[in-house]
């Protein structure tokens, strides 16, 4: 028997059908959890945020008119839950920020002798980059998470976050710039020691 579509399940869930909503949870829990995980980088917080996202979706199910895909709407809720969490609970967290070079130049390299090939070859490079995502400013984190998770386009990210397309590109570039400089600073400090 063919599985009911998201649209069918949503209509049933709107009328209070818990089984239909349960099926929606089962179907989308992996995606919602991974959005939360990549934004919060803490498993327990991600579980709580993902659960909260589904509860909010259930409470506001009647307002969902089907103008977008249900999965996109759900991801939007999850992102908002995570942003609230980061901005309130972790208000004292130090975010990775971009700093201009002291002499005002737009230099790419912290240290001219650093070799990109050596950097990317490091065993912990991937792990460090992913950990650094958890220290990006919230809005950059949201963009970079949505862009790379499920390979969404700029347009899809813009629709989910309800920001202009140009802002998505800017946030994405600045997020990568933060990661690039942070990883180079990290290895530069390691070289010094």
């Amino acid at each position: 028997m063919a599985q009911p579509s998201d649209e069918e399940l949503v209509e049933r869930a709107k009328k209070g059908d818990r089984r239909a909503f349960r099926m929606l949870v089962d179907r989308h829990k992996r995606m919602v959890f991974n959005v939360a995980w990549r934004m919060l980088r803490n498993r327990e917080d991600a579980e709580d945020a993902a659960q909260e996202a589904f509860l909010r979706a259930f409470r506001s199910m009647r307002t969902f008119r089907g103008q977008a895909k249900f999965s996109s709407w759900l991801v939007q809720i999850a992102v908002n839950v995570c942003l609230s969490f980061v901005e309130s609970v972790h208000a004292k967290q130090t975010f990775v920020e971009l700093r201009e070079e002291a002499d005002g130049t737009d230099s790419y390299f912290i240290d001219g002798e650093m070799n990109s090939e050596d950097i990317v070859a490091r065993k912990d490079f991937g792990e460090r980059i992913r950990a650094l995502v958890g220290r990006l400013p919230p809005r950059y984190r949201a963009v970079i998470t949505l862009y790379y998770l499920e390979e969404r386009s700029y347009q899809e990210v813009a629709e989910i976050l309800e920001i202009p397309l140009g802002t998505v590109k800017t946030h994405l570039h600045r997020a990568k710039e933060c990661l690039r400089k942070s990883i180079m600073e990290h290895y530069h400090r390691e070289e010094l020691w």
Binding site: R38, R130, E177
Partner: protein, 196 residues
């Protein structure tokens, strides 16, 4: 050599340039080791993020969500209750207007209502009588106290040259009693200070 801008490099790394812009960047990269190194780093960052494996939520995730979801409303809480009420009213109207049973019920209700009216009237009359009696007692009581006060004042008046002393004492006592009474009544409304 003028290197390409950061924005252009990022856009190139994400395949977000026009074919003409792309050709320009490629031409520059063929001669600039620094920009090639930058591009390598940017692309590798993108690959790391894109290749990150998906995690599974803890077992029991769905159960925990459903435990927090409000229970399904019973049929009484759903739209069916309006249908039920409409049916009930329709049956009641039919019984009342078009059946003997309805007529008998109507008459019995009327008799019951009249009995209720009589009882309420009796209670009001009784209350009025009781109130009159209570008012009479209160008047007697105040009259008694008035007589006592007058006798007292008369006695004070006969005290002669010490009248002024007794007057001051009496007024002071009354004033003190009033003050204490007001203090007790308004204690809770005073603003609290630290340590109170």
């Amino acid at each position: 050599m003028d290197c390409i801008t950061k924005e252009t490099l990022y856009a190139y790394a994400e395949d977000d340039l026009s074919p003409e812009e792309e050709r320009g960047v490629k031409a520059h990269l063929s001669t600039c080791a620094r920009c090639r190194g930058e591009l390598l780093l940017l692309r590798r960052i993108g690959e790391v993020l894109a290749e990150e494996p998906l995690l599974e939520p803890a077992s029991g995730f769905t159960r925990k969500v459903m435990a927090r979801v409000p229970p399904q409303p019973s049929w009484m809480e759903s739209g069916w209750r309006y249908v039920a009420w409409a049916a009930f009213i329709a049956v009641a109207v039919w019984l009342s207007l078009w059946t003997d049973w309805g007529t008998d019920l109507g008459r019995a209700s009327e008799r019951l209502w009249m009995r209720v009216e009589d009882r309420v009237e009796e209670a009001i009359t009784s209350m009025e009588t009781g109130l009159d009696r209570a008012m009479g007692h209160f008047a007697d009581w105040t009259e008694g106290w008035q007589r006592r006060v007058n006798d007292g004042l008369e006695a004070v008046g006969h005290a002669g040259e010490h009248t002024w002393f007794l007057s001051v004492a009496l007024i002071s006592l009354v004033g003190l009693a009033l003050y204490e009474l007001l203090d007790v009544l308004y204690e809770d409304r005073r603003p609290r200070t630290v340590g109170s």
